[in-house]
Symmetry: C2
Subunit: 345 residues, 2 copies
């Protein structure tokens, strides 16, 4: 019952929140002194500092980080703007960002856009109202001008997208797409479709590159658009594709992300098609699920953990040095070969 320091401290602390004023009053010193001591700033005698710290400890003092930010006129919290947390890749992002931000003892405020393709200004607004000093966004689906304008008001880190004039951490999507496509072409596929999300600005490199590569090779590109980026939403578009007669069906599908690839797989199975025998599927992201036995999705690995760490560090840097030059960090993707692809029969 008494073996847990946290429990006893909490119990001893009594009701909510002693403030610096409370401590100052109890010790008969000024609030300034308390503030200085608590932050380990110079200008306090060792003796006084020790007394203040001890009292703070005993009273269970907890600093109000928000009030401190307000007084400082600094905004130190990091905002994270996610597209749809159900995608595996965003869990990875969340974890990566959280690790770095927590290490730096900073706050992480979250906003999730639930309607991808129709970016919700409320999500970003909420972050701005929460007074964050920087926003890491994986959901910059607007124009570059929009992003640059937003960046001018509230610093931005674009994750997974490159925007000149804004801190950007992103994969080389042209290279990644080529990798995937060349793999399929090398296998002998010619009817290769591309399943992508809603036609939002930004994040179009994968699609554009797909079209270019196909055209270069004298092949006909076919872009299928899903209403969203989650496997649930994409189910309809995938089902339509699989319902075609064999002659009109692609022999391979490359998707904008792994979630869409899962939708294609499920649709294929539902139509009695085997993967990769009747259909090759290659995803994009190398999410954790892609590697499970029984799934084994060939996919483009963008090293999401590394990119998330980089984005978080860029965010922290931006908060610390508002005038620092823009970060422009491009990651080279690699192809992760698994068993969802094979030569067409």
């Amino acid at each position: 019952m008494n073996d847990s320091p946290r429990a006893s401290a909490a119990l001893g602390a009594g009701s909510p929140g002693a403030t610096q004023s409370d401590l100052a009053r109890e010790l008969g010193v000024s609030r300034t002194l308390v503030s200085l001591a608590l932050r380990d700033q110079p200008g306090v005698s060792a003796d006084m500092r020790a007394r203040i710290l001890a009292t703070a400890q005993r009273r269970g003092y907890r600093r109000n980080g928000l009030a401190a930010d307000l007084a400082t006129r600094r905004r130190t919290a990091v905002g994270l703007h996610l597209l749809d947390a159900r995608n595996d890749i965003y869990s990875t992002v969340l974890r990566g960002v959280q690790e770095v931000v927590t290490d730096a003892q900073q706050r992480l405020v979250l906003a999730v856009d639930t309607a991808p393709g129709h970016p919700d200004p409320r999500a970003v607004d909420a972050l701005v109202e929460a007074n964050v000093g920087v926003i890491i966004s994986t959901a910059l689906t607007g124009s570059k001008d929009d992003a640059v304008a937003l960046n001018a008001r509230s610093p931005l880190v674009a994750l997974f997208r490159h925007i000149a004039g804004v801190d950007s951490v992103y994969p080389d999507d042209a290279a990644g797409t080529r990798l995937a496509l060349e793999h399929l072409l090398g296998l002998g596929h010619r009817r290769i479709a591309h399943l992508t999300g809603p036609a939002v600005t930004g994040y179009t490199t994968r699609r554009d590159t797909y079209v270019s590569v196909m055209t270069e090779r004298g092949l006909t590109p076919e872009v299928i658009v899903s209403d969203g980026y989650s496997r649930e939403v994409a189910a309809a578009a995938a089902a339509d594709l699989m319902a075609r007669p064999a002659a009109l069906r692609p022999t391979a599908v490359m998707t904008h992300n792994d979630e869409l690839a899962f939708a294609v797989r499920e649709a294929a199975f539902a139509h009695g098609l085997a993967v990769p025998r009747d259909l090759s599927v290659v995803g994009y992201d190398n999410s954790r699920t892609a590697g499970l036995t029984g799934v084994e999705l060939t996919t483009v690995d963008v090293d999401a953990p590394a990119m998330s760490h980089a984005a978080a560090r860029a965010a922290l840097r931006r908060v610390a040095f508002p005038a620092a030059p823009c970060v422009d960090q491009r990651f080279e993707p690699s192809l992760r070969l698994r068993s969802s692809t094979a030569a067409p029969v």
Copy 2:
């Protein structure tokens, strides 16, 4: 270039942040009036209100929610304390909570405990310093006393765990475990092992029930402990189990969550065992991954989306009515039969 209202608004807004004082000065009125008008409070003439709103709009005024909270001495933000965001189930929780919190126009502050089993007080402290009004925690791995003490300082909503005296939203784990076990027993399994996470207080109902049920039936329970709850960390324990000679190996494994079940599957495959022919596996959570073709994990469905919504509503209620009676919401799990279980050979 000019078709986006957001872009033009942002561009027109100029540099960071007009405050209420700025608006008041520009209009030659008091700050009180501006504050009232902006919050749509009574006591402002329609005319004045319109002028204030228009100016706010034009200047790109953005309310500082933190300063408002400070002035009000109210804490309205919701803190979410997660165990390890990589588990599918936590993505679902995050999404569910976010939906409800966003609808209520509230802030969501996040903390993730990366070292489950060794709960990190920093994570909760960070939330408290962020001045949240309530913390939804899926990671209450301490004693009930600890939780009750914490609750006294900063309101808590226990998600996935029942703690008397604290708002709790949780599955009936005894029933869920029985469902899973009876399914395996009905299939004819007798050597059934249970894979669980680190021996932390809390979240022990599944394990305890497993032991009870096995004992009731005159069978020998065998609890295997993994160092953590993620598939990566559990790989070692799962590999040990699968490396046993067939006679000592269980014919079925029931796990504390789906992540651990995935670890068991992979270990089984790595040892040349087929699921369910050589080994039946039943998970717990019905995460999204469990339903993928090729995975098809039999698992206990706890309806995580519904529980997350309930937890978020409980949190909002607690912020609005600090003295409200405790929520105690128990969900009945159901068994989701898929193809990872079969009769032993």
